[in-house]
């Protein structure tokens, strides 16, 4: 039996094409991936991301425990601020990538990948039970079932969300949030975060309030060019930014340094899970690196395709995600390659159904929005 978000009936009503996404029945598209993708880049996209997991950690020991748990520096996080980070196992492998929202001095909300929620929750409980004596008292709750999460992303997102928000959005900077009400009386965490590369908001509200907020956003957003977007557009939007997707670019066996997440690993902070292994990996030197590629020859790189050196005589890595970029109209991909092949400008080849097609490592993000 597939799980449904509170917005399931809305997706049906809108003609969304429902698929099994990691055990959740969610729309892969409504009007079409291309159309939705471009609407999000030009105006706004509306996404149901209620499948994401929410884990709450609170109490006097929460900050120091979290700082031991994740790779980024949690003590630098101010109240009302969000932080992207990684959760590692002791071998330095990525258990998950997540965003931490600091709601108060002793109250944090961790937003994790849907398919990893149970794994993460058990990983966190286990870490706590092993090291509890090092930390002051704290409580850990899997609060995923309490939240609907709706994302509004795109250049007109602020204009749209401001129409239903009780609080002014100007004061919420990127990777910050505020607690307020939506549609008059619905309590919400209003965060200026997202997974598209556009300005935008992620709205965390009580589970049962999802449909009211969703429908109000459609009402005010559609006249401004907003469209409901499915998982297909969510994937192509993040891919154009080279944002990693757990299960594609990230896994229990990849470590954050090779995945391009070194910027969220603070080696100088006190001990954290995976630190010893990551220190060792760093000293030994990276063997591979996640890069962006653009096709020169014809074809589209796809998850699992092999990558070869320019001469075609040596396998150098593999594609983790790829698509035809709706914004750029070229075929792009993300993949791991040997360090010697990772420099932008390096010519490589992609094994597309037995043919070694020419491609190039290029700087990322692939897409850059016009910042006003």
């Amino acid at each position: 039996m597939l799980k449904k978000t509170a917005l399931f009936s809305e997706h049906q009503r809108l003609g969304g094409r429902l698929v099994d996404f990691g055990g959740w029945e969610l729309p892969v598209q409504y009007s079409g991936v291309m159309d939705e993708h471009l609407a999000c880049r030009k105006a706004a996209g509306l996404f149901d991301v209620s499948h994401m997991g929410e884990i709450q950690i609170e109490g006097p020991g929460s900050e120091s425990f979290l700082n031991f748990l994740v790779t980024n520096e949690v003590s630098k996080l101010a109240e009302g601020q969000a932080q992207y980070t990684a959760l590692c196992n002791e071998a330095g492998g990525i258990v998950d990538d997540l965003v931490i929202y600091r709601r108060s001095r002793q109250n944090f909300l961790l937003v994790v990948n849907a398919s990893n929620t149970d794994k993460d929750f058990h990983h966190i409980l286990e870490a706590h039970s092993r090291f509890a004596e090092n930390f002051d008292e704290l409580g850990i709750t899997n609060a995923s079932a309490q939240y609907s999460q709706i994302a509004v992303q795109g250049p007109r997102a602020a204009e749209i969300v401001s129409k239903i928000s009780s609080i002014p959005l100007d004061g919420i900077r990127t990777y910050h949030f505020a607690e307020g009400t939506l549609c008059g009386s619905i309590q919400a965490l209003i965060a200026r975060t997202g997974y598209t590369g556009e300005d935008g908001f992620e709205l965390y509200t009580p589970w049962e309030s999802g449909p009211e907020i969703w429908n109000k956003l459609l009402e005010v957003g559609i006249p401004l060019g907003m469209k409901p977007c499915g998982l297909g557009a969510r994937d192509t939007l993040r891919l154009e930014m080279k944002y990693p997707l757990y299960g594609n670019e990230l896994s229990d066996h990849t470590h954050p340094l090779e995945a391009g997440l070194g910027w969220v690993v603070k080696m100088n902070k006190a001990d954290f899970l995976g630190k010893a292994a990551l220190t060792k990996a760093k000293q030994a030197g990276l063997t591979r690196q996640l890069v962006g590629i653009r096709m020169i020859g014809k074809g589209i790189p796809r998850h699992g395709y092999d990558l070869y050196s320019e001469t075609g005589d040596r396998k150098i890595g593999n594609v983790t995600s790829g698509t035809q970029s709706p914004s750029l109209q070229v075929a792009i991909g993300i993949g791991y390659v040997e360090l010697s092949e990772a420099k932008p400008g390096t010519k490589i080849r992609v094994d597309i159904r037995g043919t070694l097609v020419s491609a190039e490592v290029i700087p990322t993000p692939f897409y850059q929005r016009n910042k006003t």
């Binding site: 991936v33 291309m34 297909g232 014809k298 589209i300 796809r302 035809q324 709706p326 159904r353």
Partner: protein, 128 residues
Amino acid sequence: MNYPENLKYTKDHEWARIDGNQAVIGITHHAQNALGDVVFVELPKVGRILKMGETFGVVESIKAVSDLYSPCAGKVIEVNQALVDQPALANQEPHEKAWMIKVEIADTSFIDSLMSAQSYSHYVETLN
């Protein structure tokens, strides 16, 4: 959806328009709709000999890669370069402008195994 009466259809959602010893082959409305935005089409070289049921090319949407299967045995005598240049035609006019290959048929007995427009419409309904 009304499927054209002058075409024959396969369970793999290809259509064939048969004219004497030649067949023009494409994918159906149902196929393009299931794929979503078609962004890449790969077709065989003219002159290639196809077996019945053999993969003759690939059609890719933003999300998916799908093989194309030949409903008949024969020799490829023409490919639709306009479709290769403009893959979105597969979404816009799957039964006409987005034809894929023209084949010189080796043996016409395959025609009996194909579905009429009416049978194919029923078949598609059972899938929904």
